[in-house]
Each structure stands twice: as C-alpha cells, then as structure tokens.
Symmetry: C4
Subunit: 297 residues, 4 copies
C-alpha cells in the first residue's frame, strides 16, 4: 500500500513539475500546447458569434468546443490534484477563470430549457477571459509596470478631474442643446458626448447644432488636445525615473561604498583602486569581494 502511494506521489510530483514548472522541456511543451488551445478556444468562441459562420459550421464548432472543454477539464483536475494547497489555486484569479472556461459547457448539457440555454450561451463567452492567461507569457513588462504603478495616483487624480469637468460641461451642453434635435436628450448622454469629444474619439453620432454649442465643442476639443499632454508627461517622467533607477542599480553598488581615507573624495569609478585626487590607495568596496581580495595582497 505504501509503495502504491509512493508511486502516486512520484507521479504527482512529476505532473506538478510539468504543469506548474517552465524549466523542463516537458513543462515548456505543456505550456505551448495550453497556449495554443487557449487561442484556439477563443477563436472558436469568436467564430460562433458570427451568424453566417455559425450557421455553416455549427456542428464542427460544437465538437471542437467539447474536445477543448474536456482537455481543459483534465488540466483543471490535474492542477487541483497535484498542488499541495488546492484551495489556494481554486480561489485564485486564474483558478476561477479556468472554472468559468469549462463550466458553461457542462451546464448547457444538463439544461434543455431554451431561455436558460440562452443565458448559458452568454456565459460561455466569459471564457474569453482565459486570454488573460496569455499575460503570463509576458516577461518584459516589469519596468513598464513599475512606471505605471508609480504614476497611478497622479493619473487617477487626472482622470478624476477630467470626470468632474466632463460632468459640468456635459450639463452645460444639455442646457444649451436640449430640444435642438442634436442628440443631447439627457445629462448622462451629454456627459457621454463630452467625454467622446474630450478624448478626441469623436463618433459623430451626437454633434452640437447651435452656434453656442459648436463654440463650446471647439473649446472642449482644444482642452482635450491640450490636457492629453498631462498623462503622457506623467508616464514619461516616471518611466524615465524607473529607467535611471535600474541603470543606477547596475553601476552604483561598488561606487557608493568607496571613499578615500586621505582626502575624503567620493564618487570613484567602480574599478578604482587609488584615489584620483591624492593618489592614496582606496579601501576595498564593501560589496565587492574580488576587489577586497586584491587589496589584501
């Protein structure tokens, strides 16, 4: 019995490495297969939503969906079985997404009521969230993320201001354009138009008809054109900072620690052994073991 369990344990461990790990060839192949299946399943969901394609290839799409659902179900079970703390996975963001991706398909099998099926059909679309799992394959974004995190508060303040200004301008436009047949039928709709204009999107489904309305529209556009500079400025500066910081982390450590005993000069090159000012030998850098050995000789 113990031996059996041990075999199971070994299998569990091996499977865990394949599913959760990325360092073994098998793990990498597993990841690529899952990546491909996710993209395929999203493609199927998309195609189903196109009426003509769904009409023609309905059965084919259904079969493909069932196959992928079964594979994802196996993956889901394996992920639960081979992990030490199953609940931490089940209630994690990706765990819930994985469940959402497979559940509606099984539900559609149990329910035959047309109305319920329509709801389940909508739920099936939620599997598109699985695409977020592709995010895991991004490894380059850390610096960008830092810059965005650093500018988060400032961008929030900016967007909050934009929102307040939009509410005020939207209400004004409603007063001006109401009853002109130009689409400003309510304040929320006017605010919607204001943001469409301020962000320079400009659908054109609602457009001011009165002279005053067009004049204010022009002011909003120029305002929007001007203030787009603000988030750009923030992100640029914060990103530049995070870049400098990264550069400093690479070159700084040895440099900071070194100081000439003779003349107190600082800011030496990382490789400096002698003070460039008075010629006295420099003490070894604290976090640079190799230099330390050299100066011991």
């Amino acid at each position: 019995m113990k031996e059996e369990k041990s075999k199971y344990e070994i299998w569990k461990q091996k499977t865990h490495i394949i599913i959760y790990g990325v360092n073994t060839p098998a793990g990498r192949i597993f990841d690529l297969v899952i990546l491909f299946l996710i993209m395929l399943s999203i493609f199927i969901v998309m195609m189903e939503s196109v009426a003509e394609v769904d009409k023609k290839y309905h059965d084919l799409l259904l079969i493909a969906e069932w196959i992928i659902t079964v594979i994802f179900t196996i993956e889901y079970i394996l992920r639960i079985v081979t992990i030490k703390k199953p609940w931490s996975y089940i209630f994690s963001f990706y765990g819930i997404i994985d469940l959402i991706a497979i559940l509606p398909m099984y539900l559609s099998y149990f329910f035959t009521n047309t109305h319920v099926l329509a709801t389940i059909r909508s739920l099936r679309l939620l599997r598109v969230f699985r695409i977020l799992k592709l995010m895991r394959f991004i490894g380059e974004a850390s610096q960008l993320r830092d810059a965005l995190k650093a500018s988060r508060t400032k961008i929030a303040v900016f967007l909050y201001t934009v929102l307040i200004v939009s509410v005020v301008i939207g209400s004004l436009m409603f007063i001006i354009e109401e009853g002109e047949g130009s689409g400003f039928t309510s304040i929320p709709r006017s605010i919607y138009w204001t943001i469409v204009t301020l962000t320079t999107v400009g659908y054109g489904d609602i457009a001011p008809q009165t002279e005053l309305g067009q004049f204010i529209a022009v002011l909003i556009m120029i305002l929007g054109y001007g203030i787009i500079a603000v988030p750009t400025g923030i992100v640029t500066v914060e990103y530049a900072k995070s870049q400098r910081k990264k550069a400093d982390e690479v070159t700084d450590p040895g440099q900071e620690a070194k100081e000439c005993i003779g003349c107190n000069t600082k800011n030496f090159n990382a490789e400096a052994n002698y003070c460039y000012n008075c010629g006295a030998p420099l003490p070894p850098a604290i976090n640079n073991a190799q230099n330390a050995n050299r100066s011991d000789q």
Copy 2:
C-alpha cells in the same frame, strides 16, 4: 445673559470645527456625509434629465431633491453663522455655488408661471457645479498643478497659434468647399470643422467632398498629428523639472545644513571642505556622522 451667549459661542466654535475642520473624527464624518449628499444630488439632477426615468419616478426624485435642499440650506446657514467673516464665505467661489445649489428649488415654490418654471428648471441644473466641491478632496495634485502652471504661458501661446492657423485654414476650406453641399456653409462652421480635424476628434458631420478639400484635410490631419507633440513636450519637460526640484528639496538637507561659520554663506557643493566665499574651513555636514568623526582626527 453672558453665560447664554458664552454657550452659544462654545456651540459656534464646536460647529465651526466640525464644518470647516477636517482633523476631528466628527469633522471627517461631516465631510463624508456632505460628499455623499453632493454625489446623490448630482445623480438626482442627472436622472431628472432622462425623460423615461423622470416620468416614472418624478415624485420620488422631487421629494429626494427637497430633502437634500433642506439639508444643504441648513449647512449653508451654519457655514454663515459659525464663520467670523460671513461675507468672505458668501462671496467666495464655493459660497456662491452653495447658494446656486439651493436657491432654484425655493424659487420654483414661489413661481407658478409655466414659462418662469422652465427657466428655473434650467437653473436647477447649475447645481451640478457643486461637484467642483469634490475637488477639495484631491490632495495629490499639487505637483501636477505646478507643472501646469509653469507651462501655462507656453501652452497659451501654442493654443493661440493653433487658433490663428485654424482661422486661416478654415477660411481657405470655405472658399474651396462652398456650395459643394459638404457642410462648409460659413466661415465659422469651416473653422469649427478645422479644429475638429486638427485636434483629431473627427466627428464626420462635415467632411470635404472636393479633391483639393480632401488634400488640404490630409495636410491638416498630419499637421494636427505632428503638433500634438508640442503641448505634450512642454508639460513633460516642466513636470520633469518640478519632479527634480522636489527630489532636490528632499535630498539637499545635508548640503543645506553646511554653513560657513565665518561669513554665513550657504549652498555649498556636497564635497566642499572650505568656504568658497572667505576660505574658512567648513564644519562637517550635520547628517553625515562618518565624515564628522573623520574630520575630528
């Protein structure tokens, strides 16, 4: 009698702290309640403007408005009563907004003439300006505001140039597209279109039909695409400056603290050992204990 007045004085002082202050728990709760009421009143104003919602819930919205108006009236009176210089509040920006927020509701009670009521109904919408009071809750924006203030003149010059160019291009487009049935019916309208295009909003309610008109439209777009860089560049550089300035203020102290005993000169280089003004040796930097000990030797 004196005691009575004294009680009133104490109550006045306490109320003042609650209404105007933000440091006591009661003051903070008061602020949050007002914040919530402002957002609620704006929501009600918005809902009233949606024809269907207003039809269904007209009475409910009216009652809610009356309740909020009464609360805001009490707040308005308390603000006047508890402040030392009432007029400075009454004629301040927020004082006028607070009055605008409550006045139309009472006016609508006194007037029954339909035409006058319609005007008052419009005035009621002005209470949306109360949302600007939410601005007070932004404490993070100072740096951004500095950057915007510093680039104000340059952005004004830029927008002024954009306006002049728009007038010229708009007039040209009017000459080209007049009578083509493409919406260029007057110069102001052509200028409106030019700014819509230059700011990349692009409604599409007016669009050139002639080849020459489309060619110039393309030039305007590319121009707009190119010059959007200008305000962005300005704000980015000014914001970067204000960030550096702030960073300097944080890291400077060591430097700031160095002061020549002989001539009181400040602002020395971080590595300075002698006063650049009188040649006297400088005391060690206060926040650099290591240096201090060393120079004692």
Copy 3:
C-alpha cells in the same frame, strides 16, 4: 523750401516711430488700434459668410468694411511713405498681406460684372491672412520655436515615412475594398482614408466593410496609436535640450572659467572665491568683471 522739407522729414520720422516702433506710448496705442481693427475686420468677414447674418445686416457690414478698408489703406500708404526702403516693405510677407487686405474692396467697386464680382468676393476672404499679423504680438514663443526648428528635420523624415506607408496601405485597401460600396472608390481616396485613420481622426464617411479590410484598419489604428509617440518623443527631447541650454547659459559662464591654481579642481559655484578642495583663493572669472575687481584688491 528746405524748411518745408525738413518739417516733412520730421513728420516722416515721427510717424515712422509711431507706426513701426513699439517703445513709445503713441506707438503702443497705434499697435493696439490696428490689432483691434484686424480682429474686427476678420469678424466682419466671418459674419458675411453666414447667410442669415449677411441677409439681415448686409448694408451695415458693407459700411463697416469700407471704413476699415479706408483706414487700412491709409496705414498702408503711411507705411510706404515713412520707410526708407519702401520696396523692401511692399514685397515683404506682411506688405503683400496688407495689400491683399485692401485691394479686393476697391476692385469690387470698379467691376460690375456678376461673375467677376463673385471671384473678387472670394479674394476678399484672403484678408483673413491679416490675422497672421497678430503673430507679431507673441514674444514668449522663442524657446518653443527653437525646439521645433531643432526637431524639424526629424519630424519631416517621420512625416515622409508616414506618407509613404500611407500610399502603400491606401493602395492595398483599394484592392481589398474596391466595389464593396464602402467608399474606397479610388486610390487617392483610399490614401485619404488611411491618413484619416492613421492620425486617429476617424471621420467615418468612409469605413471598411469586408472582414479583411476591418482587420487591416485595426492594424493601421494600432500603428497610428503607436507612432504618434515618435513626433512627441522628438519634440519633448529637443525642447528639454533647449530648456537645459537656456538654463546653462544663465548659470554657466562664471563657472566654466574658474579653476583652482592649487589643485586644478573645477566646477565651482558661480560665486565661489576660494577652492572648496584646498582652500586656495580662486582666480577671478574671465567674463565676470565685478569678481575680477574684487580679487585685485
């Protein structure tokens, strides 16, 4: 006779100072009056183009135009008479604009042929170029202009690339969307659409209907969204440079020249008199006469 001429000469000189100068009170008032008249004349031109306004106030606008035309004619003659080299003014940019601003009005008096009058009416609109004279009143823009001048070549290269890419993509879209009734009726029109999309203007008068067309449209949008960063980046960096340069010009001169004779240290504060490293007195800054005197004592 000589005296007469002398009087005329004095008048000519005085008038020249008023018209061309900006340093005397009279000169400044003259400039402000002209500024006001230019804006008024542009406003009149605009109003004339609005059919309803022109119908109502045609005579009033005509009289106002004649008055302004006469004033501008007097100004034009005075400018020619009081300048030493009249031709250099007549053939200068503003000289030609001034002539264009007054000529059509007189021409409309001599010609009565309806067809010719219509052409002259169009020419009258060219007086809107007078607005460019307002540019003279901008004194703050020098730095911005430098930044734009410095990035001119790079922005030209960028726009040239955008244009070539637009021609290629426009032709592709024509092949794909031709005959789909979606407005892609010719290559120039397709290129027009491509630039409308690439610059994120997006009128919507032409929009792709085929799946492939919409897919390429998405690629163009994302491309446009991405490359808008390029001119912004260029202008920002060049503007930052010009700002640094300006800052250097203010703080540098004294600094560069100073060097300690005792220890060869450089980079002193502008006001430094003694070396911060060895305490030796510093030589006076070469371009700083005041310091020089002080060290002579």
Copy 4:
C-alpha cells in the same frame, strides 16, 4: 576577342558605378531620374484608379505606363548584368519589388481573357511598393530608428496587452449590445469597435445604444486617453537616451584620451589626476592645452 570583352568589362564597370553608386555626378543624375520616374509611375497608377480620369485619359495613361515600364525593364536588366552576384540582387527586397513593378504590364499583353486581366490589373497596383525605394533617400533617420529599435520590445508588450484587453472588452460589449441594432453583430466586429474607440479614432459607424454600453464606452475612451501615454513615454525616454549617447560620443574624446602610462587603464573621471588602478600620476588630457602647460610647471 579579348579586347572586345575588355571593352564590355569597362562598360559594365562604368554602368555599375552609375547605377549603384551615388558619388559621381552621373550616378546622382541617374538616381534623380529614377526617383522622378517612380513618383510619376505611382501618380499614373493613382490616376488610373480614379474612374473619371481613367475614362478621359485612358490611352494617354496606358502609353505613359508602357514607356515607364520599358525604362524600368532596361534598368532592371542593367542592374542584373552589371552586378557581380546577380542572384543576391534578384532575390533582395528591392529586386523583387523591381520585378513586381514591370511584370504585370507584360503579363497583361499576353493574356486576353477578361477575368485574368482583372486579376493582373490588381497586380499592377502592387507597383506602388516601388515607393518604398524612396526610403533610400532618407539619411537622417538613423537616430530615430535606433530609438524605435530600443523601444521595440516594450512597444510590442504594450500592443500585446492592448490586444488582449480589446478582446476581453469586445466580448463584453457583444454580450451587452447584441441584438440592440447598434452594429455589434459579432465578437470580431465588437473587438474592431473596441480598438476603434481605444485608439481614439472613433468612426461612428458602430456606436453603443444601451446605457451600460455607453458607460463602458466612456471607460474605454478614458482608458485609451490614458494609455496612449505609454508608448509615448517609452519612445521619448529611449530617444532621449540615444540622444545622450550620441552627445557623449562627441564630448567624450578628452576623457577617452586620458590613459595611464603605468597600466594602460582608460575611462578616467574627467577630473582624475592619478590612475585609480595603479596610483601613478596621469598625463594631462590631450585636448586640454591649458591643463598640460600647468602640470608642466
């Protein structure tokens, strides 16, 4: 016979210099002529696509096309004949473009079948790719290209994220707006709309009709307005870096020139007087004559 061949060799060499070289006057004239012909041929292709122009000037355009095709054929043959490794040219990017530019015209001569001719007519449009040859005339873009290359990965990560977010939002909008008659007929179409909105293009051919849909649209717009800052920030910072790098390459030499006589170490601080590696005094910087004289004392 040998002499004959030798003459041919000399002609080949001379022609090669004219066609591929840019340093001789003849080579430069050849380049300008080809440049003009490319622009002319693209203009002809464009004009042919405009139905009215093609109707009027069909024969003229056809003759012009044949003439240009013959000239380009001669150029193509000369390029192959005069180069040492013809295949490297034939299969190069520009070699294939050159072939595409001339081939359809000859094919249209051999085929008379109407259906095949229509296909060939489309192929003829591919000659517009010849415009890419104009790219060769850009010599200023190297720095910009470096900045774009350096930010390539980060922009790709950004666009990848935008794409994933667009798929998720597009699917959500499809669930919300399906069957509202607002153009959200399928998920791919919803994603198309999302990107149109996110990039602030905003055609307006599809626009949300439900309140929830408009609310999400507003969020997308503000998101798009905010994240446009990201690629801008990246390009600006990378471009600034490449500019600094270039500036360093120009100003460094003085620093570079300092080299320790004792141990050949380079890369000293500008102010270094002693070698940081072996402690030997450093020679004065070569491009600093003043320092050199002073240290001779």
